[in-house]
């Protein structure tokens, strides 16, 4: 299966672990990801609230280029996914905005007719490749590992179309397909604070604390994420949360692609598992290396 791949800025920088694990698992899953040529930043959600038209225009530039390939665009980042989809949605719904975006693209010698479907990597892996295929390719099972699926607030809202906005289960089923135990907890779609970590740290730390607490209370060994920013907030700032709230969280925060990579039997180093801020716990290492 071939897709146009839109990595987004984070994946090539702070989230290079995510990049490495995707690069590692894609061939094994038969996933052909052809990177979009000359792509630019989607503007992320922050830019959208500052300069809306500009944000739509730069986001649409990516879609305009992608349209030439007649394939679905897949992105591993929840913010990119949301912004590109929102651009598509507004482009279709509001003719005046469509005209303005069209003018902006024309100035750059581009045009867009609104026919690109933007999808999240989780959707593609779980629904196009499928749980059965993933399970059949697995060389290991994550037996005994309790994983809390963390969807974050962007991928399912308001109506992404591939899962229930209140009670998403796509990742739950993936975790079970990998042989791990899926932890049911309430905050799986709550916000991690996202970029507020840079502007309103107190608030963001509190949100992360609540999330980690709920996962821990429900017995999670680790959290599986699908978004570079969610992963960074929960992983890199876990120490700061502990200091601020006098907690002793020790919960590794992994990308779902890393878990898949482990079951495919790929070397842990290729999956970036050594570069997490919260190191893998001993029992986790045993599960990953053994079985």
């Amino acid at each position: 299966m071939k897709y146009t791949y839109y990595p987004g800025c984070s994946v090539n920088a702070t989230a290079n672990i995510y990049r490495d694990s995707i690069t590692a698992i894609a061939p094994a899953l038969g996933l052909e990801l052809e990177e979009l040529e000359d792509w630019n930043c989607c503007g992320a959600t922050a830019y959208m609230s500052v300069k809306e038209l500009m944000s739509f225009a730069i986001s649409a530039r990516n879609l305009a280029i992608a349209e030439n390939h007649h394939r679905d665009v897949v992105t591993p980042c929840s913010a990119c996914y949301t912004v590109l989809n929102k651009t598509n949605h507004y482009f279709a719904e509001y003719p005046e905005l469509r005209a303005k975006i069209g003018q902006a693209l024309e100035a750059g010698g581009l045009s867009y007719s609104g026919n690109v479907r933007v999808r999240h990597l989780l959707d593609v892996i779980c629904n196009d490749i499928g749980y059965e295929k993933i399970a059949s390719l697995a060389k290991k099972r994550l037996t005994g590992l309790k994983v809390a699926p963390y969807y974050g607030c962007q991928i399912v809202r308001p109506d992404s179309g591939f899962d229930d906005p209140d009670e998403p289960t796509t990742m739950n089923r993936l975790i079970e397909a990998l042989g791990a135990e899926c932890v049911d907890y309430r905050m799986k779609t709550a916000c991690c604070g996202a970029s507020l970590m840079g502007t309103q740290e107190d608030l963001a730390l509190r949100l992360c604390k609540n999330l980690l607490l709920d996962a821990e209370q429900n017995g999670a060994h680790c959290i599986a994420t699908i978004c570079p920013l969610c992963q960074m907030n929960l992983d890199v700032y876990q120490g700061k949360v502990n200091a601020r709230y006098k907690m002793k969280f020790d919960i590794p925060v992994l990308y779902f692609t890393q878990l898949i990579g482990v079951t495919l039997g790929l070397p842990l180093r290729d999956l970036g598992l050594g570069r997490l801020a919260v190191k893998l716990t001993k029992p986790m290492k045993q599960i990953f290396e053994g079985a």
Partner: protein, 672 residues
């Protein structure tokens, strides 16, 4: 011979004359072929207006009439009567709608005038091809079928029975009483629901003019106004109605354990059904397999729940049979079909409540102390499984309760409409909680709609009872504690729109004020009775203001919550309205049936039967001998569906035949 047509142009005050140039239209009409007289008047529908037409007819000036005024829905009947009075067949009258379809909807006066001319030319051309038709008269059977025996059906049935007319009352559940029988108190007067309802239930059960069939559903309806034929399937209850005296020996000792499912979304624990006898340790079977839906059931005859009955499931037990002194238990009982002929049908099918399990953010079905309004009603009911006590799942008394309004109503994702009763029952709940416990009560509302008699006063009273009101739609109910004091509680997360802040309010119990929706099976019932269903799922009345209980099908009436969500006073009012409409038909003894029906030319019909299933009124049947389809004129409403579908062009719509329609089109296009 040329026709002599009279054209009458109405000013409708300034409604038409304010936009359309009447003088221009009149002189245009005078120039039309076959037109003998043209007049205009301020209000054609008034007595002097009607007299103008009458005079011209009786003086022999005209033999066909065209009135250019409002919609035929308004005054077609008025002018048809004028024609009949003066000796012209009612079907030789044609109407041009130059108000609703012209002066009211256009801004440009000159264009409106041109359009009025075209519409009049069309009516005049059509008029030349009209043919006199005879209305048919059919007798009215004085017996009435009432479907559903909640408060709506009970009221309608009693009204008719008291007037000396026979009623067949059919109820799907094992007892009559409907939802009202499950309530403890009613708003705003707080009178006990059972105290006002049960006397009427008993009256229904004993009335000599009421044939009551419970645990029964309408299976088939055929025929037409005045003489419907109805088949009713009575489900086997495995207890003989004639022999049983409702002594209760059977349910006292029954070892089976039923899962209460009076309502599909109800908690599987709460029930108001009859319970087993207490043993020495004070324990009792909360839901025996043989049971009455509640203590005051009418008829006071239990039913056996096959799904949990030990005899039906395991083949042995038969305890109730041994205990029954009157030998009323009949395990071999089968469903029975009853057939009736009735003149009219009143549909009082009621409602069901919204299932909140689909709104995952409220965790109904997962968190045990999140209950629906109906469950809370049953909890309050003195005969219910909690003896009328308000308790949590673990038996403790709650110290704080949140009441969330508008669950499934006023919500674009579920039902857009307002369910009209939830605000008031929520206030009633708040009062009952204050009366029975010392719990803190929070109402989470969007708007409070207290519109009925005494409702606003009730709200005002509640404000003095220390009940808290928070304006905002609840985002989530969670048992995840974050702050001090949230441990072991349900936390209601809500945007308080008056304060302008997100709040977390810990409570012990949450009541979801679930909205009302159309009951299961309503579409099937509606199809049987040829009644339409709106996009909200409820039955559609003939006219939202002036025909609230009639339907597009003569002789079929709709009352209560199956028409739209409503409270008890409105339901009872509608029930009495429908019964008086039925009585007025019965008093007339006969009814005129519309003559503009469709007709099949047997010579042309190929017997393809395409029309048979298309007819929304089930008026077409196939004659197996002659191999042609035949239309029952009494059932046909002249909608024209079959006419358009017939591949052999064998069906003619009387009063709307091809020549008439083409003439009308020619008229419209004549000025183009």
């Amino acid at each position: 011979m040329a026709e002599r047509i009279g054209v009458y142009v109405c000013h409708c005050g300034t409604n038409i004359a304010g936009k359309v140039n009447i003088d221009e239209v009149v002189s245009f009409a005078k120039g039309l072929e076959d037109v003998a007289v043209v007049r205009d008047y301020k209000f054609m529908c008034s007595d002097p207006g009607q007299a103008m037409i009458e005079k011209d007819i009786t003086e022999g000036k005209i033999d066909r009439v065209v009135v250019a005024s409002c919609s035929p829905l308004m005054h077609e009947n008025t002018f048809r009567k004028v024609c009949e009075r003066s000796g012209v067949n009612a079907y030789l009258f044609a109407m041009a709608n130059i108000r609703e379809q012209c002066s009211w909807v256009h801004l440009d006066g000159a264009a409106s005038t041109e359009k009025a001319k075209a519409l009049i030319a069309a009516a005049v051309r059509r008029s030349t091809w009209l043919e006199p038709l005879e209305k048919r008269v059919v007798p009215i059977n004085p017996r009435t079928l009432v479907i559903g025996a909640g408060i709506a059906g009970i009221q309608a049935a009693l009204d008719l029975a008291e007037a000396g007319k026979e009623v067949v009352l059919v109820e799907r559940e094992a007892s009559i009483g409907g939802h009202m029988a499950k309530f403890d108190k009613t708003f705003p007067t707080l009178d006990c629901a059972a105290c006002i309802l049960t006397p009427r239930m008993v009256q229904v059960g004993q009335h000599k003019n009421i044939k009551l069939l419970t645990y029964a559903e309408v299976a088939e309806v055929s025929g037409y106004v005045g003489s419907f034929k109805v088949k009713v399937r009575e489900k086997a209850r495995y207890v003989d109605r004639e022999l049983c005296n409702g002594c209760g020996m059977c349910w006292d000792k029954c070892p089976g354990r039923r899962i209460p499912k009076e309502e599909q979304n109800v908690h599987k624990k709460l029930s108001i059904g009859t319970r087993g006898e207490k043993n020495k340790r004070g324990e009792q079977n909360p839901a025996p397999s043989i049971y009455m839906p509640f203590m005051q059931a009418v008829p006071a005859v239990p039913v056996i729940d096959r799904d949990s009955c030990r005899y039906f499931q395991e083949g042995k037990c038969r305890l109730c049979e041994k205990l029954c002194e009157r030998k009323a238990i009949k395990y071999d009982m089968e469903d029975r079909i009853h057939e009736f002929e009735v003149g009219s049908i009143i549909i009082a099918a009621g409602l069901q409540t919204f299932d909140p399990a689909v709104m995952k953010r409220y965790r109904y079905g997962i968190l045990p102390n999140v209950v629906t309004a109906l469950e809370f009603e049953m909890m309050n009911c003195a005969a219910g499984s909690t003896d009328g006590k308000i308790v949590l799942a673990d038996g403790r008394t709650p110290k704080s309760i949140g009441i969330i309004h508008c669950i499934g109503s006023r919500d674009k994702d579920y039902h857009e409409y307002c369910s009209r009763v939830c605000c008031m029952y929520a206030l009633k709940f708040a009062h009952l909680i204050k009366e029975k416990t010392e719990a803190e009560v929070y109402n989470f509302y969007i708007d409070l709609r207290c519109f009925g008699k005494g409702y606003e006063e009730f709200y005002d009273r509640l404000l003095g009872e220390d009940v808290r009101f928070i304006r905002g739609k609840v985002g989530e109910i969670t048992d995840m504690p974050i702050h001090e004091g949230e441990q072991g509680k349900l936390v209601v997360r809500v945007e308080d729109t008056l304060v302008g802040a997100i709040r977390r309010i810990p409570v012990d119990m949450v009541i979801l004020c679930t909205g009302l929706e159309a009951p299961r099976g309503l579409p099937e019932l509606a199809k049987m009775c040829s009644v339409s269903i709106g996009k909200d799922g409820f039955l559609i009345e003939k006219h939202p203001k002036l025909g609230p209980v009639s339907t597009a099908t003569d002789g079929v009436f709709i009352v209560g919550a199956c028409q739209s969500p409503k409270d008890i006073p409105d339901t009872v009012a509608q029930a009495s309205a429908a019964s008086s409409a039925v009585l007025s038909m019965i008093m007339r003894e006969k009814i005129e049936i519309e003559a503009a029906t469709a007709e099949i030319d047997g010579e042309k019909c190929s017997g393809c039967r395409i029309c048979n299933n298309l007819c929304p009124y089930l008026a077409i049947r196939f004659d197996e001998e002659k191999k042609v389809s035949i239309i029952n004129e009494a059932l046909c409403k002249g909608c024209g569906t079959c006419v358009a579908a017939c591949p052999s062009n064998a069906i003619k719509a009387k009063h709307f035949d091809n020549r008439q329609i083409f003439a009308e089109i020619e008229g419209i296009l004549s000025s183009v």
